[in-house]
Point group: C2
Chain length 425, copies 2
C-alpha cells in the first residue's frame, strides 16, 4: 500500500523528483529550452525556471545559447547537460584483466584504461591495489579536463551482496565473502605504483580523492544489461534477458526497464540452469549446467583445445574467445562444432527462460557477441523448436553492439544515472 504525498514533510521529496524530471528531460533531448521543458514535464514555466536555476548553480546544466531555428515558438536559450561537471567512474575486475573508465553527464567516455592481469587465485588485496592505480589514473585524467567524479561502480564477475560492498562469490577468482569496496577504498588511500606495464602513470594524482567517493560493487552481467538498456540503441527494450560470458556464463533480466534482482539479489544465474540434468559435474556441485556446455573452458575442450595451454598462449581479456572466433572463421570444423553445441545449449536454457518470462527479446552480449555468427544458428533453432506458445521471431534475438565493453560502460553510466535520478543540488 503506497502512502500519499501530503504535508510539508514531502515538499522536499517533490522538489527532488521535479529536479530529476527536468534533468532527465534535458538528457533525453540533448538541448532544449526552458519553455519546452515546462511543456514536456507539465509544470509551470515559473517552477521550471526555479528548478533550472538550481541545476545551473549546481553545475549540472549549462546554457548552450539560442535554440536552433525551425523549432516551434520564440527562440529561447537552450539548456544542455554540463559535460565539464560531474563524471561517473567505472571499473572492472575480470579474470584476465582490469579496467577503469570515466564518462561525463552527457554519457561521453572521457578516459579509459585497461590492462591484462591474471587475477585467478590472487589475493583480493593485490587485485584491488592494481585496480586502484587504474582508478587514480582515470580520475587524474578527468580532473585535468575539469570534471569532478561523483562516484565509482566496480563490475565483478560474481555475486554481490545487497549492501553492494561485499562480493559474495566469484568462483572463477576464488573469492568468497570479500569486503571488496573496503579493500579498494584502502588501496585508493595508499599512493601506489602503476599496477603493471601498460597502466597509465599515477604521478600527479591527488591521493585519497577517489577514496572519498561512494564505491559500489555490482555484478558484471547486471551492468552489461543496463549498458544495453541505456546505450544499446534498441527501440523499446522494456523486458529482456541479457546473456553474457567471460569465463562463466551469466545473464541479467531487465523487466519494465529496471534490473530485476530477485529476493536476495541472485537473479539471472542462467549459467546454472540445467541443460542435460544427467550431464557432467559442474563446479557449482550440480550436473549438466549451461556453463558445462557454453562456458569458455567447456567450449575449448569440445574444440580439442587444452584450456590451460590456451590460457598461456592466448592471455588477456577474451583471449581464448578471440582464438575461437579466429579458428571458426578459418573454417576449423571442430571449433565450429563446439560453438554449434554451445549455441544449442544456450538455446535450450534460453527457451526455458523465454517460456517462463516471455521477454520482448534476448540479447547476446559480452564476449558471446564476438562468437554470435557461429552460435546463432543452433541457438535460434532451439528457440524455434521450444518456444511454441507464441511465435518465436528471429528478430527477438539481438546481438549486443557493446559486446565486451558493456559491463565497464554500465558501471560508469550507473553513476551518471544515479546523479540524474537524484541530482546533488
Amino acid at each position: 500500500m503506497r502512502g500519499v504525498l501530503t504535508g510539508p514533510a514531502n515538499q522536499a521529496a517533490v522538489r527532488r523528483r521535479n529536479l530529476s524530471l527536468v534533468l532527465r528531460t534535458v538528457a533525453a533531448r540533448g538541448q532544449i529550452s526552458r519553455a519546452a521543458v515546462a511543456t514536456e514535464v507539465k509544470l509551470t514555466k515559473a517552477t521550471v525556471s526555479t528548478l533550472v536555476e538550481e541545476l545551473l548553480t549546481a553545475g549540472l546544466l549549462v546554457e548552450l545559447g539560442v535554440t536552433r531555428p525551425g523549432t516551434v515558438g520564440r527562440p529561447g536559450l537552450a539548456l544542455g547537460l554540463n559535460d565539464h561537471g560531474l563524471a561517473g567512474l567505472g571499473a572492472e575486475v575480470g579474470v584476465d584483466h582490469l579496467a577503469a573508465c570515466a564518462v561525463d553527464l552527457r554519457g561521453q567516455t572521457r578516459a579509459r584504461v585497461e590492462i591484462d592481469s591474471r587475477n585467478r587465485g590472487r589475493a583480493p588485496e593485490q587485485v584491488m591495489t592494481d585496480l586502484a592505480a587504474l582508478v587514480r589514473a582515470t580520475e587524474a585524467e578527468v580532473r585535468a579536463a575539469g570534471l569532478t567524479p561523483a562516484g565509482l561502480t566496480v563490475a565483478v564477475p560474481g555475486l554481490v551482496a545487497p549492501d553492494h560492498g561485499t562480493v559474495e562469490r566469484v568462483p572463477n577468482l576464488g573469492w568468497f565473502c570479500v569486503s571488496a569496496a573496503d579493500l579498494l577504498r584502502r588501496a585508493l588511500l595508499t599512493p601506489g605504483t602503476p599496477a603493471a606495464e601498460g597502466a597509465a602513470p599515477t604521478e600527479g594524482t591527488p591521493p585519497g580523492s577517489a577514496a572519498e567517493l561512494p564505491i559500489r560493487m555490482e555484478n558484471e552481467a547486471n551492468l552489461g544489461a543496463l549498458a544495453e538498456l541505456w546505450l544499446g540503441g534498441h527501440p523499446s527494450l522494456g523486458d529482456f534477458v541479457h546473456v553474457s560470458a567471460e569465463i562463466g556464463v551469466g545473464s541479467a533480466l531487465v523487466i519494465g526497464g529496471q534490473l530485476f534482482r530477485g529476493a536476495r539479489g541472485f537473479a539471472g544465474e542462467l549459467g546454472h540452469v540445467p541443460v542435460h540434468p544427467e550431464g557432467p559435474p559442474c563446479s557449482c556441485g550440480a550436473r549438466g549446467c549451461l556453463e558445462r556446455y557454453a562456458g569458455e573452458e567447456a567450449v575449448l575442450r569440445a574444440a580439442g583445445i587444452d584450456p590451460a595451454r590456451a590460457a598461456i598462449d592466448h592471455p588477456g581479456p577474451a583471449g581464448r574467445m578471440r582464438l575461437l572466433a579466429k579458428l571458426a572463421e578459418d573454417g576449423d570444423p571442430r571449433v565450429q562444432r563446439a560453438l554449434n553445441g554451445a549455441g544449442s545449449a544456450l538455446g535450450i536454457a534460453l527457451s526455458g527462460a523465454v517460456n517462463l518470462l516471455d521477454p520482448q527479446s534476448v540479447v547476446l552480449g559480452g564476449a558471446l557477441a564476438d562468437l554470435a555468427p557461429w552460435l546463432l544458428p543452433a541457438l535460434d533453432r532451439e528457440l524455434h523448436l521450444r518456444v511454441t506458445d507464441r511465435q518465436w521471431r528471429p528478430e527477438c534475438l539481438a546481438v549486443s553492439s557493446l559486446g565486451r565493453n558493456g559491463p565497464l560502460l554500465g558501471a560508469a553510466h550507473s553513476v551518471i544515472h544515479a546523479v540524474l535520478d537524484d541530482p546533488p543540488v
Copy 2:
C-alpha cells in the same frame, strides 16, 4: 519517466487513490475507527471523514458500532466493509468440470456451485451455455442475500489475450482464438436450462443481469497464484513461483506482490521448460518438456495406468489425481515411482526457474498440492543439488492450502480487489 501529480486535472485521481487507501486500510484491519484510519494513512481526520462518508453512501463501508475496548484513545464508531454490498463473481472452465462462486467485500464465499463436465473437444458455445447457467444460479443466490455483483472473472486453463476477452490457446480443450467473453455474455443473455444434473436451478434468476457485468477471462495459473498471495496465509510472500497442474502443468510468477505477465502476457509456461532436451515429443511440438514428465497423462502412463481408461473410470475434476494419491497412499510402488519421477522433473525445471529468478519461495498449488507428499522428496532433492549460489532452504518450498480451489477463488477475489483498488463511488 513518471509525470508529476499537479493541477486540478489530477484532483480526481488523488481523490480516487485516497478512497482506495481508506478502503484497503479498513479491509486490512477488519474493523477500525475513522481516527485510526487517519493515523494509518497519514491524512487529516477531516479528509478521512469526507472520504468515509462517500464510501458509506456508496454502500462499500458500514458502521459497525463502538470499537472494542482495549484499543488506545477514545472509543470511536468502528467501520467495516459491507458484506451485504458488492459481490465478486468467479467462474472456472476446467477440462473436466465447470464451477462458479461469489465472494463478498470481506472475502467471504457466499455461493459456490461445481459440476462435472467433459469439456475436451466440446464447442466453446456449448461450454459457455453450461457455464452461464452456473453463473446465473450463483448470481441469483447472492442477489437473494442482498448483494450486487460487481464483475465476473473466468479462469481458463490456457493462454488469454491481453484484452482479457479472447482465449488464445487451450490445447487441452481444443480451443484456439475463442472470443470466450462474448460467448459467455451471449449465453448469459439467453435464459437457459440447468447445465447438467447437479447444477442449481436457474428459476427466478433475472436473465441478462450478469450479462451486463464486466467479464474478464484469465489464465487459471495466474488466478491460483493471486489466490495464494491474497488468501494463502503466507507471511511476506513478495516474490514467488506458483506451480499448479490440472491436465497440463502451469505456473505463475508473482514479483513484488504483482502478477508478472511478461511482454505478451505469456509468462509462466513452466510446463514447456525443457527437462530432458532429447526426451519424448510434447504436444507443443518440442521435446522433453516438463509436461511430458509431470503432466497428468505422463504420470498415469509411468504408473502403468491407461489414461483413456482412467478418464472413464475416474471422471470429474482431478479424478485421476485423486486416484494417484489413493494408490500412492496404499503403497503402490509403480505409482510412487511415477510420482517420484514427476517430482524430480518438477525439481529440475524449478531449479532453473529459481536460478534465474531468485524468488523468496516456490508454492506447489492446484492438484499438485494433493500429491505433495510423494512429489516433495525428489523435488526438494533436485533443488538442493541444483540451486547452489544461495543455500536452498526447504522452507522456501511451500504447499498451497487452497489446492484446487485457488483459481476459482482467485477469479472471484480479483473482482473484489478491483473494487478496492478503484472504488465505484
